[in-house]
């Protein structure tokens, strides 16, 4: 007598498929990991004058001139101020000045980071354009 063999019933997948969820989460993590350093990098646009400040405007208030003397001292329109007081001083001058353009001259030995912090502060104080002067 032939015995009938029972076929096992095919079972469906009852659990939710987590693979797409995990994949999408990994995508987000990778995007964040890669994009964070890029998002934190930016730049400050400058214009470089071809010659020294002597060929600039002759009226003293036509633009604000900053000279970075060393890491702790700068001069704004030939008045020496402490680096820490640059922001308030420059803000007051820029509010009264007819032009919001700032020309920056920097001593060669000053670290590049100090130079950038000064032009950053000038921008934050309301400078419209930054021109870098030669020697």
């Amino acid at each position: 007598m032939a015995r009938s063999i029972r076929k096992p019933r095919p079972e469906g997948i009852h659990e939710p498929n987590l693979t797409p969820l995990i994949d999408v989460s990994l995508v987000l993590v990778v995007i964040l990991l890669v994009a964070t350093p890029m998002a934190l990098q930016s730049g400050i646009a400058i214009s470089k004058t071809a010659t020294s400040g002597r060929s600039g405007p002759t009226t003293p208030l036509a633009r604000v001139e900053i000279s970075i003397l060393d890491a702790d001292h700068v001069s704004v329109n030939r008045v020496v101020v402490d680096r820490a007081n640059l922001g308030p001083t420059l803000g007051a001058i820029l509010r009264a000045a007819p032009s919001r353009d700032v020309a920056v001259r920097c001593a060669d030995g000053v670290p590049h980071g100090v130079f950038v912090s000064v032009i950053d502060e000038a921008k934050a104080s309301g400078a419209a354009g930054i021109a870098v002067l030669g020697r």
Partner: protein, 140 residues
């Protein structure tokens, strides 16, 4: 009355979802990292700044590391070769008005950066920017 229970059916097709997902991950990684590959891998500690502008734009970068090594985009070169190489790059079609970004280490003397700016100007750069790292202030 007997109710008919539908038989659960087996999924006999290949599940392509993980494949598509992994492919999308690769595409996104390539898209995001492509601009980073155009910068030299010199160790540079960029100066921090609060203000930001001149970003997300096609540019030619000049990188100066803390120990004075120089690179134009990914190509390492000497100071003497910089001006001619940059002039050649700027002469390429579509590069006439491209932004030239100086990526200089925050510790190098400003004199080196000034020389780079002079070289860039002499090479024909019309638009210049200094690369910075965004300063993240707590509580903002």
């Amino acid at each position: 009355m007997r109710r008919l229970v539908p038989h659960p059916t087996l999924i006999t097709r290949v599940n392509v979802t993980p494949l598509v997902d992994v492919a999308l991950v690769l595409v996104i990684i390539l898209l995001v990292t492509a601009p980073m590959l155009s910068v030299a891998d010199l160790p540079v500690d960029l100066p921090q700044a609060r203000t930001r502008e001149a970003e997300d734009e096609r540019n030619i970068s000049i990188t100066v590391s803390g120990d004075g090594e120089l690179a134009l985009d990914t190509e390492r070169l000497t100071g003497e070769a910089l001006e001619s190489r940059l002039a050649a790059r700027l002469a390429e079609p579509g590069n006439q008005n491209v932004l030239v970004v100086i990526r200089a280490d925050s510790g190098i003397p400003y004199g080196q950066v000034r020389e780079l700016l002079t070289h860039a100007r002499a090479a024909g750069a019309k638009r210049l920017a200094i690369a910075t790292r965004q300063k993240v202030e707590a509580g903002r």
